[in-house]
Symmetry: D2
């Protein structure tokens, strides 16, 4: 086996690079999960995760990946045959829709060209038409990882309110949590689903589920069968820092450290950092003469930028060259974007020089793959980064 010197550049839009401090926290000897030291930790992280969602409501932690959080959201609040509003706006939105169908729900789907998110106007119109309130929930993806489009949740909330519709607003915040601003309480979200392996800088293995009072009320009468994903014992145990079954103890050690890192940098500073990196990346893309998938500036993602390769040039071929020559993994195009798009993840534990290395790798990969482009995208990015060096949130 040949050793690849230096750090691997993991620039897929999650899982993300795990900081050394978190890796070390995870690699701690395990504890009795029913003993006093662990239950104290349990209470601490259950409490400290709330501000990351900007909520005072309960946030549950399941030993599962984020997809499990989707299932938990559905089976606790809905009954067989209920209708949910879903969106054909990207690969993950489509997969959540598929899950809803598998669990026996009906779907009402709104569609875009996958280059923009659901428009508040179309949601409002669809809800206004649903006079009998058949639609029980709206399954929105905050940051669509497959195309770098970020939904306008606050505006969508207002659209729902304008339609005076009682549907629960469920939001997948898996690839935005801890990278882009998300305001559970202020935006009136009812269920939010997060995962550990993106902005939280942890390995996959924890699914977070935040729940509003309204969602909790819905869970009292919802009829879909549930056991592992059941909120009731999870919430009942959580006050003591306990769990109805074995939690992913070592990831809890890591979660505590992740929350420490977030506190040290400051959540708002983290969002500014992601925003700077996203803008610098887009400037490089533009300077190269390439096009981002996201066509709506109001919906540019802060955590991932999906880029079209020119017609006739394989994005997967480019990714392969970059992986083999420069030891960097980029995200593939998914679903109908397969081989047409490569995705640059710029989220999690990341900084300016790592982005410079990342964009340098893309630029060299474009050259080696003979993909038509203008040189110097990296300089455009550096210009933006240095112009905004040291930008911080107002204290």
């Amino acid at each position: 086996m040949a050793y690849h010197p230096g750090r691997h550049f993991l620039q897929v839009p999650g899982p993300t690079n795990i900081p050394d401090r978190i890796l070390k926290a995870i690699a701690a000897p395990v504890l009795d999960h029913r003993g006093p030291e662990f239950t104290k930790l349990g209470r601490e992280v259950l409490d400290r995760i709330k501000p990351v969602f900007k909520t005072r409501q309960p946030v549950m932690i399941f030993p599962a990946s984020g997809t499990g959080g989707w299932e938990s959201a559905l089976v606790n609040t809905l009954s067989p045959g209920d209708t949910v509003m879903t969106f054909n706006t990207g690969q993950f939105a489509v997969l959540w829709e598929k899950m809803a169908k598998q669990l026996g729900l009906n779907v009402h789907t709104l569609t875009t060209d996958w280059r923009r998110g659901p428009s508040p106007e179309s949601i409002e119109a669809a809800l206004a038409e649903d006079k009998s309130h058949q639609i029980k929930a709206i399954l929105l993806v905050h940051n669509e990882t497959s195309n770098g489009v970020m939904s306008r949740v606050a505006e969508i909330r207002k659209a729902i309110d304008r339609a005076k519709h009682p549907a629960l607003l469920m939001v997948d915040t898996i690839s935005s949590l801890g990278s882009a601003d998300f305001r559970f309480d202020e935006w009136g979200v009812d269920v939010a689903v997060g995962g550990s392996q993106k902005g939280l800088m942890l390995p996959a293995g924890l699914a977070f589920v935040a729940v509003s009072e309204k969602a909790l009320k819905a869970s009292k009468t919802a009829k879909l069968p549930r056991a592992f994903w059941d909120w009731e014992p999870m919430l009942a145990n959580s006050t003591g820092g306990n769990f109805p079954y074995t939690p992913a103890c070592n990831l809890f050690f890591g979660l505590k450290e992740a929350l420490n890192l977030i506190d040290e940098e400051g959540l708002e500073n983290i969002f500014i950092r992601h925003s700077r990196h996203a803008e610098a990346t887009r400037r490089a893309v533009q300077a190269w003469g390439l096009e981002t998938v996201c066509a709506e500036p109001l919906e540019y993602s802060q955590s991932v930028t999906a880029v079209f390769t020119p017609e006739g040039h394989s994005a997967d071929g480019l990714r392969k060259v970059i992986l083999e020559r420069f030891n960097m993994a980029l995200g593939a195009g998914l679903g109908k974007l397969a081989d047409k798009v490569f995705r640059i993840g710029h989220l999690g534990d990341f900084n300016d020089l790592m982005l410079a290395g990342t964009l340098g790798g893309v630029e060299m990969g474009l050259s080696l793959s003979n993909i038509p482009h203008k040189s110097g995208g990296i300089v455009a990015a550096l210009d933006h980064l240095s112009a905004q060096a040291g930008l911080r949130a107002a204290a």
Copy 2:
């Protein structure tokens, strides 16, 4: 905070001590889970886990704790209203039964005094009575972690065969896998559920599900709704080392190393080691003049020994003294054994001198708690350990 010098003794019956080599493997920088290096790893561990179950059938790996494996077993093979045979023989058997009810199944329960496992005879009798084959599955716990009783799976298989009953045999092998002999193929098990945090010496976060041809066939017609736990996409992806959603990548690194450790020591040697330690522990218990919960020598557990404190003496008080004075965690009595029983885990990454330390801690704890006992249990244990020092499986 006061530092507790030296190693914590984690002697609950799981989670177990994680070897340094596994902790380090887990603390590796994460990889793109769709990239060539990770999918190669995926194929490798999916293949190498099979011999641990002694099967050639597929074994699936879910990013969840073992309880999720229970749910996966049920929702893939059964339909609403189906009946399953369950056992009131210990806390975990009871919890599996409870889950079955939550998912809309009927239960037919056999009961013992919690000091022995289900008898093959009673199972045979119950199945013989079920002429119309209403019972679709038997939910057996191999090693009941709550009382240290190990079910006689091979004999129970024969009892089912004698009754000529078609029910699926489902076995929870969570706290026996990798610690005690388990033979999926030879014993005709249909679904076996394992977890990562016991004999496999990993943190919690992986649920293993082995499935027979018969179980796979049942899954084609089973009607319980399923998405996250669905076998079909999991099996379809697995040939390429892929997963339908993000797997717990870092635990996969650890799993590979765990399989290396198992290969280096040898699975049969591991079983002999656990058996020696269990016997040494029982000799200490006997020498102290105390009583094990398991009353049936054929059913002594190899991985955990549950011990009654004398009437009027709190087992939880004893555990507290031992935790505070000697930095050792023992398992609590669960359910109806609460405060009457303490449990000594002697499984996973464990050796003779760690057992000597463990039993020394129990003996000192008994003294400090003024629990009537005879001194010298540890000497009885050492005598057994040294008499059998170096015992290995026949090559």
Copy 3:
């Protein structure tokens, strides 16, 4: 290669078990040793190491093992042809004497039977005879690792004072620092030499040298050539947290964490712990009917117990059985004690149950090696440990 399950028992009298927290601290990405973050760390550890020596004088840190500290002590304070008092009382005392000769010094040697340390009386007598003050320094080993004898430094200081002799008192505290009380200032020590791999719970690689005003004054005129070991640039740089050449950066990360652990447990509590463990070990030895090398109760070591095997029984054979069967390393007899003695290290990051495991291993090893002994030494040890469980220093 066969995997040895569980923790290795490293019971040599140093290097000692390294706590996980220290291993992780050491495994941190390295820093520019001239940058602000590292120099801050340098100042911190140079300051915080002083209380461990109980001194306000400077303590230097060389990137070397303890033997280098011996050389540093000699070449900075002495001139070619000077005479030093040395002691034939154990292997390490003899090695220090040998070094003095190699560097061109004359030696005046006091001798014992290696079962006790230098007597204050004989030192006083020898110094009183040295009317012309030819003896420039006294090279004393505080804790003789080879036989478990601890010198009475305070009494020896008084003996020197009674003789009104100006010789520098140099003390090797390598295997006592952080395990047994050592009072640099109060005892009037002039140069003390420590190492990282014993009571400080670090890997080998740091030599500590504490120096009195008197020693510093001597260094101004001392004529032995020196460069690497020179105190002057080391002290001049230290105020800024700098070093005249590259320091062992990663061990500094570990040293900071070691000092944290020491603070958390409390230095006096650490001494009490070591004393309890030493006494428990001796009770086991006595109960087995064996004999410790140290024949003087006032000089029992707190960190290591050396034990004779009965005439005709190989100590190295015993150690080999214990290493192979029970995965425990014990110290060998050194020099003239070779094969007659085994040494049990009970120092550093160690606790009651680890000692129980250690003594259990020795007891089983004695049995397997057919060495005549009485059973139950471990019970004698446990009785002492539990009688003194939780003993702490007065607040």
Copy 4:
């Protein structure tokens, strides 16, 4: 404390970034350094380090930093009052000279302007003049870390031979070993001194000393006093994998892994990689319109590039901006180059994208510091890197 997200860029010319595999190897529980497992490791690394020096002669490993290796070279081969040839060609050459004086040696110094190494011609001339062979050794620095000048050792060897002079050729290979070609046997080097914290990718703490037959012969009669640095016991013990005093055990674990990494990548491939990175760096420097310190293309260093800031612009100010804004440490100008020069380390565990990040950081730092320069140095570097992507040594 504010957390700095992402990886720190440690681009000083050593200590270098330590690969995760090495950090983990180092963080292993320590072993008895006299036990069979460690002595086996000792023999292995003592054997496997030889090819890195391209020698069949013994290489010793001292628990010390590289400066100690200098002292070992001198005290084992020379006698008080001997003369050595030294070079005023950079800071480290000057420091070695200073050490020689401190140890009682006379020096004969050749001087350059610090922008080039010693010329073979001037060495030949000086030796030819030394008819009585007063010069006993030549103290040459292979790669002068302070200015990025690499001496032409092979040509200097020929110059010595032409002068028919018997002086020992001693070479400091601290910052070249494992980064640039070094041929101990072929070049007729007599003593070579290496360190662990540069091309070997380890923390500081190991000094390597390779010795020729001629040097060993000289050591039999050399009269400088020595003990810790003495070759005789070091070599005598080494055949058994032993050491005369405690070795730096944990660094040995790391050294084994470092040798594994070197074998996996291939030593010649490592040299090609360093050469590509050095050339790419110089192209960036040239494109910025700046000047390297090294003025002799034949002597460009492969591991470090020292760059002048324009007259009137503080190099230390630039480094400070880059450290604070971009979390990258660059090397300072040393000695007479202080504040005039910044040094970019591009050695050790390093790859193309890390270099892109490094040069991106320098380019942004130049802008933020208002240092006159042309933009786009990074593009010049990327062009070179991609043109030579995948360049490997002939098999």
